[in-house]
Amino acid sequence: MKVVILGCGRVGSTIASVMSREGHDVTIIDQNVDSFRRLSSDFSGKTIIGNGIDEDTLRRAELDRADAFIAVTNGDNRNIMSVQLAKVRFKVPKVVARIYDPIRAAAYAELGIETVCTTCVGAGLIRDKVLGRKFSTFEEYLRLGITNASVEGEHERR
């Protein structure tokens, strides 16, 4: 598939390297040219320097032809905005955003945006590792994050 990745940090560069090796057509975007050094030496995809919440940059990455868009920059809001841009403006069939904040991840999941809350998943995996348990499911890990961060003040409007 043609996949566009925003953010060439540890996660972004790993996804890009792996998917490129698996034969996918990968384009990765980052604002900082140095970030691309994280890509593996056999990475055969394209790199684009630019701001991922800018339509022109996403167009340069040919997002209109992409099957999937992955937003894994360090900013939750940047990821949230770029995946919405990808959905609304470029009609990308599959978009996934990494979101650290469990509540924001859940809120946008409700809006139909696929989110991966690595805080929840990481916490769950580490807990199970420490306790010597079998790893649980993605859904259960997400629930951990939400219960922990639950908000009392979310009152009904009068």
Partner: protein, 227 residues
């Protein structure tokens, strides 16, 4: 003072825009809360405005709840980052049912996107300044008054100058772009209800409703022949 119509307004971002906006709102008698995530900025503002300043990240649901977003009439996001302003307004709407959300937009291209994504109103100083400059340069004065239906339809004002090609013409004679409606002709401070026989005179202002993409055509029709 607007006593009876006082609103609870939450302003997120205590930069220059947030600062002056809050002071103005307070002066008008509204209840205001300012959220600012930078501690220093929040503290120095609190020295002046008191405990209506909250040091908190306006994107965090917990802080939003603490700020009483559930009873806010308006949430205004005026941080310097468009992505933050988008998320603040979307969360305010989705999580707290805030009836009116206003986002500051730095990149004018984001205005339409934000409105599509459910933000009630957007303000782009970049676009406003650009429009002001463009209006100075353009030979005809077509002034946008309001944008309806997410900007698809515009209400504009066109001033008839003495050298405008339409000066002296009747409205029925104008070759207007499709879907254009002349709503009114303002003459000597009176709003005339126009009909096909209404003759346009220099000094008149024509108020029209048009599809946004037709603005340029309308401009050309009214353009004065200056070069």
């Amino acid at each position: 003072m607007s006593g009876a119509s006082a609103m609870y307004v939450i302003v997120v971002g205590a930069g220059k825009v947030g600062y002056y906006l809050s002071k103005q709102l307070l002066k008008e008698g509204h209840e205001v809360l300012v959220m600012e995530k930078d501690r220093k900025t929040a503290e120095s503002l609190a020295e002046e405005l008191g405990d209506i300043v909250m040091h908190a990240d306006g994107c965090e649901v917990r802080s939003m709840a603490e700020a009483g977003m559930g009873r806010a009439n308006v949430v205004v996001a005026v941080t310097g980052d468009d992505e933050d302003n988008l998320v603040i307004c979307q969360m305010a709407k989705r999580k707290f049912g805030v009836p009116r959300t206003i986002a500051r937009v730095n990149d004018p291209k984001n205005e339409a996107l934000f409105q599509e994504l459910g933000i009630d109103q957007t303000v782009s100083s970049t676009r406003i300044i650009f429009n002001l400059i463009e209006q100075q340069i353009e030979t005809s004065q077509i002034i946008p008054l309001a944008a309806l239906k997410r900007g698809e339809i515009e209400v504009v004002e066109a001033d008839i100058t003495p050298d405008s090609p339409v000066a002296g013409m009747r409205i029925g004679q104008l070759e207007l772009p499709p879907n254009t409606l002349i709503i009114s002709v303002i003459r000597d401070d009176h709003a005339l209800i126009p009909h096909a026989d209404t003759k346009l005179r220099p000094g008149d202002s024509v108020i029209a409703m048009i599809k946004a993409e037709r603005e340029r055509e309308l401009r050309e029709i009214f353009a004065s022949r200056k070069t």
